[in-house]
Subunit: 142 residues, 4 copies
């Protein structure tokens, strides 16, 4: 059963909101896919976003995972609403190294007051994808 968006312009609204996030621009992140209850974000591993071993900083992995999760929620709220992260947990599974990162966010449960989301982040190396993080959290429509 596919979730039903209540905002017919949700794709545009997600794109507009994404473009306003300076942090996403700083990270070189792009919106790769938006559909009802789902959002995919990609980002390079810029030198400016690394930690002490040269891998992507956990904050970059968190940034795109949290954003993919949040925008998956935004696809399911009423027009004119925005979303905020209330809480988010990340389990890091493997070092964030490679050509770039991809975060896939999805809605687990879209309530009226709270939206529970998950995101998986992958490191991309040529054709291979390595699962590097799993996020689970709560998004609030405002």
């Amino acid at each position: 059963m596919s979730p039903q968006p209540r905002n017919p312009n949700y794709k545009t609204d997600v794109a507009v909101s994404f473009a306003r996030q300076a942090m996403m621009v700083t990270a070189g992140a792009t919106l790769a896919e938006v559909s009802a209850g789902r959002c995919v974000i990609k980002a390079p591993i810029l030198n400016s976003m690394t930690q002490q071993h040269g891998f992507a900083h956990a904050a970059l992995t968190f940034a795109i995972g949290d954003s993919a999760a949040g925008y998956s929620a935004l696809t399911l709220v009423d027009a004119g609403k925005e979303v905020l992260t209330s809480e988010m947990k990340i389990n890091l599974l493997a070092p964030a190294q490679g050509d770039g990162l991809k975060a896939v966010g999805k809605v687990l449960k879209a309530g009226r007051r709270l939206i529970v989301v998950q995101a998986d982040v992958y490191a991309l190396n040529g054709d291979a994808e390595t699962h590097i993080a799993a996020l689970q959290g709560t998004i609030v429509p405002v």
Copy 2:
């Protein structure tokens, strides 16, 4: 009872590791205090680190909270060891707006294999501090 550092040079080691994190440099973050089982990091709210409403992006709040927590753990491990975040949860309490942010990380339990940590992040406005986030997670010495 104060935790006992096993590495007499822990302050230098924390400072060296911090300086190597390009993400912290990008964020303009600085190490404000390091003591046994505790670390304080400050950061401005750069335009490049904001979200769509002009507040600090949750990823910046996460970045300095996670780093303060991780470095509080690094003060208690053996010389030559490093630390990695295994998992971290953040609850966001209030919008991240103001002159800057301050993260205070501390060790709850320093085990041999796992170190459980907490961090609180505050928004600074003149002399006022607003509690904007609480983090709890697990750090692994490697």
Copy 3:
């Protein structure tokens, strides 16, 4: 600054709600202290609540930690409201062994729609208390 309860009968309301939780009765748990933004619950370690090594099951530690956190939130909501756990994370710090357990719940941030809480659980051995778990989560007034 102490949080201000809006329900003058909050202590009675917490006690009535607690008494209706069959799970708390099954666990032999008792309400040890209730004040504005704070709740303490104690429980024995019944054989029926143990795991495979004879220690208290993580679910018992979770049960009293979650309840202490939830009831700390209930002290701060309007009369006639109830509370539900939206999400809760537990970090286990040490084995749950001893004469009994004590959970101390407190409110970090009491919002109108969401209340962020923490709880610490201790194992009691004679006069000694061992910190065995830290919980952080979100409670929703309904």
Copy 4:
């Protein structure tokens, strides 16, 4: 790619460990399925396990979700090892009401020192299943 168990007797070892958990007996829980990297636990909603509205207590949902997750991890460790929950987060999605509960645990990443797991808990009503909780956490082999 199916995870490879290193302990040929993992099914027996999971069953023996499960039988020793008094908490699972108290809850009337049963092991419904065990395979490499996966474990399913079922439980009735006993009156003794309810909260103040007569639904299953969050601690019961946590108990079987955490156990399903933990035993999914146990299927992938060396013979003679046991597992402990290091940390677990639960997001509650819907009230736990119905004929019974079912928890499905699975391994996301089986590391040597840490095993990251997820579990989904469902309420069973006749032929219908309602997703009532999602758990994500870390299990430690000992």
